[in-house]
Amino acid sequence: MDRVIRYTVMFIVLVLLQAVLFGNIDYFGFICPYVYVLFFIALPIGFNCYGAMGLAFLMGLLIDIFSCTPGVHIASTVLLAFVRDYWIKVILPHNELGSVEPSMSNLGFGNFIKYSLPLVLAHHLILFFAESWSFTDAWFAIVKAVVNAVITMMLILSYYLIKRK
């Protein structure tokens, strides 16, 4: 029960943080990290796949409402939740950890990066391609996705570093 409340609070805080703070970082018209993906990185291993996708849809819809981008965040976040389940099975084929919450101390730094970086990158790639729908400049979308994925990753890592202390 404690866990449910904790995740609910995290969900709401991340939506507001994204809408109010990170959605308004306008640096060179280029940098816009999407930290709300932290919620799906932090979901317990073995979390119900349907539940994750449902939450991803809800999260995507809320972020879309705040940023006037209908469908864009829904598409990328649902993909993240769907791929996450399979990706965990690839990285941890013999899961001895049970339904542990992924973090640097639980998975180890290397494994945590291996787990989270490809997911964040996939999310950002789909996001920037979906956003540029009618735009032809694919390289711009790719560079933007990679740069912002790295920034999002650094923010996620710093969250876990602060939490550990």
Binding site: M53, F57, V72, V78, F135
Partner: protein
């Protein structure tokens, strides 16, 4: 039968995934300029409310610069009043019975920006006034520096503006020296620059000359400053110039705007629609 159910259970996550993605794609495809802003636009109450609260806090940080800008605008307006007053007295002296109320009726509705973005390909600006204050779609939006954009949708207390820095924005503009008409379009990347298109090659374009609104679109009054020509390029094979315009409006710091209420807009629009309707019937 049992096998079928087994397969279905196995691919159920995939089915849900496909279903949710389809919803997302439908939402994306339906996003066309004047439709479907209803579900996911910042004009809706929840998002509008949150933006209003944050802007109430953050607006304090930029009060200094806003004050300077307002003072500057004030003095410019005062100067203009003086010039006009002089001119009016001149007219009154020479033509005693001159009518003073010719031309269009334009009034301004002041509004505050409570949400905006510059880092996307399709940026929007959210205002704290809506239909209750007289704001309607298709109205032009200007600030003290220059043109901002056009209102696309309005709810009772909020409205959303399609600014110059949106890939779907297209604003009719005029060059200062030659009075040639062109369209101002934004292609992404830098929110400080836009491109002026459709200027034919026989026209002389100077670097540093000013770009104004044409006033033909019955959205903006004539002569609102838009920007300054920064770069001019003409390839031998092209029939139109490539003109890069530095925008006057700084979309990074935009905070107070005026919505243009063109009282004759409806009449003009009706007239134009009549022409196209008649043209089709012949």
């Amino acid at each position: 039968m049992r096998n079928l159910i087994k397969i279905l259970i196995k691919i159920a996550p995939l089915l849900l995934f496909v279903l949710l993605e389809t919803v997302a794609v439908v939402l994306m495809v339906q996003r066309s300029r004047y439709h479907n802003y209803a579900i996911t636009s910042t004009a809706n109450v929840v998002a509008g409310g949150v933006f209003e609260v944050t802007s109430a806090v953050t607006s304090y940080f930029s009060l200094g610069t806003i004050n300077n800008k307002l003072a500057l605008e004030n003095s410019n307006l005062k100067n203009e009043i003086e010039i006009l007053r002089k001119r009016l007295s001149l007219y009154n002296d020479s033509i005693p019975n001159a009518k003073s109320d010719s031309g269009f009726n334009i009034s301004y509705i002041p509004a505050k920006v409570i949400g905006s973005s510059v880092n996307k390909l399709d940026n929007y600006v959210t205002l704290d006034k809506g239909t209750d204050d007289g704001i309607k779609p298709d109205m032009g939006v200007v600030c003290s520096e220059g043109v901002v954009g056009i209102v696309v949708t309005a709810s009772r207390h909020f409205s959303v503006v399609l600014p110059i820095i949106n890939s779907e924005s297209k604003i009719s503009c005029r060059l200062d020296s030659s009075k040639t008409l062109g369209s101002l379009i934004w292609h992404g990347f830098d929110p400080s620059y836009a491109q002026l298109e459709e200027i034919p090659r026989h026209v002389i374009v100077n670097k540093g000359e000013k770009v104004y609104t044409s006033g033909f679109s019955y959205i903006f009054p004539e002569g609102v400053p838009v920007g300054v020509v920064e770069e001019v390029e003409l390839k031998d094979s092209d029939s139109f110039y490539y003109i890069k315009v530095k925008l006057n409006t700084s979309f990074y710091t935009i905070s107070y705007v005026d919505v243009v209420n063109f009282s004759e807009q409806k009449e003009l629009k009706q007239l134009n629609e009549n022409i196209t309707a008649n043209g089709q019937s012949h």
